[in-house]
Amino acid sequence: MTSVEVKAGAAGGSPDRSLRIQGLRKEYVRGTPVLRDVSIDFAGKGMTAIIGPSGTGKSTLIRCVNRLVEPTAGKILFQGQDLAALRGAALRAARRRIGMVFQEYNLVERLTAIENVLCGRLGYVSAWRAWLRRYPQEDIDGAFELLEAVGLADRAGQRADALSGGQRQRIGIARALMQRPDLLLADEPTSSLDPKTSVEIMELMVELAGKRDIPIVVNIHNVELAKRFAQRIVGMTGGSVVFDGRPDELRDEHLKAIYGGEAWL
């Protein structure tokens, strides 16, 4: 871990890790926006949770940041670049600095745990070396350290499809951190997990990203988890931001505005 950080520090000090979204708009079908000109600034540290009902554009918002979804309009400013305008090699270079954790883990099932973690370096390793599995020694060391950090050092050689849901998500987190990212996105990271494992996964993300000063933007529909782990909560409904504040400022009337109705409260 230490060697990794020294390296990152030596490469360029501590770069600005804040993210500014300006007027972001996404229409999958022309004329029916899923995101309605959303503008949010994310500070360069801590966890921000985006809450809101299903289908309200939370996932789309997060996926626009690393361009898994193409924004229709708007700017996404990160480290002096507009991510929304990048193409080709420049886009890949920007993606390398942004780690992502997925709801369904998205591991390569037939590869071992350690190789899934090493997948986080594939933006840096040439296809040829990846094919021959000739990863640089410092990456291999880093992967083992991360496996240890997520508590799965003894599962390094096991295939991903032999792991439980919680274990897979730990590998997913290790893979994202393997990129040594400047920003960590998490798209419903706990929605496929049981309540206890969900808490463990959130704790792990906060702990490991915190140690590395990596800001986290997480989509989450579990309000309790959001309030417990995030320093800031953004509530979205119908493609717009309707709440933005600290967890202790989130009141029932805000939740009513975000989710609609009140019988569930």
Partner: protein, 265 residues
Amino acid sequence: MTAAARVWHRFTPQQRLMRYAFYLIAVAALVQSVRTVEIIPEFLEDAPAQIVDLFARMWPVDWSYYPKTVHAALIETLHIATLGTILALGLAFPVGLMAATNITRWPAVRLFAKFILVSSRSVNSLVWALLFVAIFGPGALAGTLAIAFRSIGFVGKLLAEALEEANRGPVEALVASGAPAPTVFLKAYWPQVQPSFWSIALFRWDINIRESAVLGLVGAGGIGMALDDALSLLYWDQVALTLLTIFSVVIAAEIVVTYIRSRIL
């Protein structure tokens, strides 16, 4: 007071009428067909005797024909099938990639690939063999190319289908980490389709053993040539030996393929 019995029929009267009409037409067509075929009654009566006679001429099998001719021809058949399959795998791989909708974005390229796949499959291997015999002269080269060209369509189509069924999750994860396209294919698609690919290859090899056995009938080398010679000279005991040999090899190939498939899947 009992309610009137409710009536339920599977078909409406109109549907029933249609079905009876269909049966009537089917019977009429059958009668018409039998008349058109012009079965010669003498030959039909004679058939059992002819069959017995044929088997009598095949017995005893001429085992001495095996070392003289059949063995070398058999080995040639195996070579044609195996080399043809390997060649087809190499040729079909890029075509399969071009035909898969999730790999190739340009419809024109996909259309071109589909055209190759369809032309390969719509021509029977015997016809391919006739073409290549005309170009390269009789022999194993023509047979090998015939097998290869007939197999491209099969392997390419099934590979494209396997690719299209691949789970999108790992692909998304690697794209999000900034991996270039060749690496995404290598580490996200290939591990998912690898078992199918080898299974397709083995399956095609099995088919090609059977197909290459008859290619000799048009002069494209292999055991079919031995069969053709014996047939035209009316040496039925040698025909019997050749057929037995083909039968045993096909069974053996089937067993080998089933065993290997059970191990890799």
